[in-house]
């Protein structure tokens, strides 16, 4: 270290000038006649930095921490008060260089719902649920009350699968009084626009309410079908839908006992696959008739039967067996389910 009396001219007021520290250092070095290169070597500080420091070009120096260290080392080396000059330098650069910001690199967020939106949605949802709960509680409602009333017509359909059909003027005026349960024998008789009962299996019939009123023709004589009951008789024990139905078409029910339902019945002697289509091709039934069960064909015109086991089926028209469609295991397509043709044995498609 080179001995040099401490300089008294480094005062607060001289600090205002940017570069004052560098100037002080340079003056001191020149006064000592020291070489910058030598000093740079001794202090291990690059000459460029020392020159920048002396010239007051503080932007060329590395971060403030390092620059302050350089100033302190350099000043101490020149025999100046390092801490004092370092303090002076700090005042000079204050305001010019903000302290290093702590911006850590963080991984880029994958595209996800922003947290705020998530919270908002959750809160809204919570309010909505609470609102519904409160509304229901306040009115003493249950969820089923919120579902609109079933339209009357549909309601009947739902409760009575084969609704009594309104009398078709052209038909036999045969609305059935009863709900007509599965009533293969029921509804479609009138050939109205009402939906025909999809299918009825005889083995289920025992469980269903009595079928509609018997017709004058004596149809419905199928063995399994319980004896037809008059509409009046069926009425009272029936539940509301039945009454409703009666309301819709009470008169004909009383006037003329409905006509039959079905004339054709398919009975399975052995498990046989059957498929019945309407004339338009709508599928009425496709299933395997297990041995002993039977299927009452709806009284509809143009129905066609396809079976995979012609010999396994016994077809009855008005309770009387007709000639078999084919041998056991034979496949028959498009058998016309027409009573007359079946009787005549000409039902098989050509």
């Amino acid at each position: 270290m080179m001995e040099q009396p401490p300089r008294g001219d480094i005062e607060q007021d001289s600090i205002d000038v940017v570069g004052a520290t560098g100037q002080d250092l340079r003056e001191q070095r020149e006064a000592l006649g020291a070489d910058l290169v030598e000093i740079a070597e001794t202090l291990c500080i690059r000459r460029g930095f020392l020159e920048a420091l002396e010239a007051g070009d503080y932007d060329a120096l590395p971060g403030p921490t390092y620059a302050v260290g350089f100033v302190r080392s350099y000043a101490n080396h020149l025999g100046l008060d390092g801490d004092k000059l370092a303090g002076q330098y700090k005042i000079e650069i204050s305001g010019e260089r903000p302290t290093a910001k702590l911006d850590f690199f963080t991984p880029v967020q994958e595209s996800r719902i922003p947290r705020g939106a998530m919270v908002l949605v959750t809160v809204l949802l919570a309010f909505a649920i609470y609102g519904v709960w409160y509304y229901m509680n306040a009115r003493d409602l249950t969820f089923s009350d919120l579902i609109p009333e079933v339209p009357p017509l549909f309601g009947r359909t739902a409760e009575a699968p084969a609704p009594p059909l309104p009398a078709d003027p052209g038909a036999t005026a045969s609305p059935q009084g009863g709900p007509a349960g599965d009533a293969a024998s029921a509804g479609p008789a009138a050939a109205s626009g009402a939906p025909p009962p999809p299918e009825v299996a005889m083995d289920r019939q025992a469980a269903v309410p009595p079928p509609p009123a018997a017709s004058a023709t004596g149809a419905g004589a199928v063995a399994e079908i319980p004896p037809p009951a008059p509409a009046e008789a069926a009425g009272p024990p029936q539940s509301a839908p039945a009454e409703a139905a009666a309301v819709l078409a009470p008169a004909p029910a009383e006037a003329a006992p409905a006509m039959v339902s079905t004339r054709i019945e398919i009975r399975a002697k052995a498990d046989s696959w059957v498929q019945v289509r309407t004339a338009e091709g709508t599928l009425l039934v496709t299933r395997i008739l297990s041995q002993g069960t039977s299927y009452a064909v709806p009284p509809q015109k143009g129905l066609r039967l396809t079976t995979g086991n012609a010999g396994g089926l016994e077809i009855l028209v008005d309770g009387v067996p007709v000639p078999p469609l084919g041998p056991f295991g034979a496949v028959r397509h498009d058998v016309a389910l027409d009573p007359e043709r079946l009787k005549a044995g000409t039902a098989l498609a050509r």
Partner: protein, 345 residues
């Protein structure tokens, strides 16, 4: 969401749990506590009570009667005595934390980079049982670098040497993380021990830890004065080992520098090894800017000079080296984003 709410009521704090001193920084208030990490325990009928913590306890160090024990719960930068350390942390938190606020504080504590998972857990649990709501750990070199104002988050290499009481941490940092760190268990304590050993060996005089520390602070130097001078001298007092009576003698800077040669060379070695492991790009950054010294050891005179000669790099001493670590920890506490980053470790 709630943590921010609580944050408004609690005095979140940053703690530099050092071997020698514990510093506490409270968010928005700065450094509020700086006391030695010493606890005095009073033992009666087999039960232990804390008698004093901090400055008071340090006065008792080495001067206690049988029923009082003055303990430094941290050794080599980590907790050596779990229970005592917990008591100490509790004491400091209670002293600093506003009792009126009902929320527990969030606490950031720095740990040596070389500490094991068990040691970290011990520190974390101590703070939790002392009433912390959440504990974050930050590695000491990172805290020191932030506190020294180094551009740690920038893509440029910075080297920091933190000479603490128990450990010396050498680390190269870049992009907000530690690229390479080396932690040697040499620090102020080892220097004190070296001074004690030297005086006993050469002068048959036994001095206490406190005296040794005082000698180090007054005339300690990393290298002997040039031109064969003896440098500054100091009177030291202790017990003569030969005839067992208290004795006084005069010791010089040169002698102390000799005694400190071993710990100082260990520090230099650590720095050199760290430099060897530094990637070339970072080494290029460090050549220009050099090394920054922090920690109490940076105050040892001529340590920068010795390091500069050993490495050929410019060596700067950070401003307020003693509080760099706690300032950096506090800075991390002040910036919530930083805490989120710390949370991942």
């Amino acid at each position: 969401m709630f943590s921010r709410l609580f944050g408004m009521f609690s005095a979140d704090m940053a703690i530099d749990l050092g071997t020698a001193n514990t510093l506490v920084y409270v968010k928005g208030r700065g450094i509020v506590l700086n006391e030695p990490s010493v606890v005095a325990i009073h033992e009666s009928r087999g039960r232990k009570h804390v008698l004093a913590v901090g400055d008071e306890a340090k006065m008792m160090l080495g001067r206690t009667p049988g029923h009082i024990e003055a303990i430094r719960p941290l050794r080599d930068g980590v907790i050596a005595d779990f229970e005592i350390a917990e008591e100490m942390i509790k004491h400091f938190i209670r002293k600093v934390h506003n009792r009126r606020s009902f929320a527990h504080p969030q606490i950031v504590i720095c740990v040596p980079s070389g500490s094991t998972a068990v040691e970290r857990r011990a520190i974390r649990e101590s703070a939790e049982s002392a009433g912390a709501r959440r504990v974050f750990l930050i590695e000491e070199p990172m805290a020191a670098a932030i506190g020294a104002g180094l551009p740690v988050t920038e893509p440029t290499g910075s080297m920091v040497v933190d000479v603490g009481g128990g450990t010396t941490e050498v680390a190269v940092l870049s992009l907000g993380g530690i690229v390479h760190a080396r932690c040697v268990r040499v620090g102020g304590d080892k220097m004190d021990e070296a001074i004690i050993a030297y005086i006993r060996r050469n002068h048959n005089l036994l001095v206490g830890e406190g005296s040794a520390e005082r000698i180090k602070k007054e005339i300690g130097s990393a290298c002997p004065p040039a031109d064969g001078e003896e440098g500054e001298v100091m009177e030291i007092k202790g017990r003569d080992l030969l005839n067992g009576v208290p004795k006084e003698l005069i010791i010089s800077e040169r002698q102390i520098a000799e005694s400190l040669a071993e710990p100082v060379s260990a520090i230099i070695e650590a720095v050199k090894v760290a430099l060897e492991h530094t990637a070339p790009e970072l080494a290029a950054d460090i050549v220009d800017k050099g090394i920054v010294l922090t920690g109490g050891g940076a105050l040892l005179s001529n340590l920068d000079y010795v390091l500069r000669h050993a490495t050929g790099l410019p060596v700067s001493i950070a401003d307020e080296p003693l509080s760099c670590v706690v300032l950096g920890t506090g800075r991390a506490l002040e910036e919530t984003k930083t805490l989120d980053v710390l949370d991942r470790y």
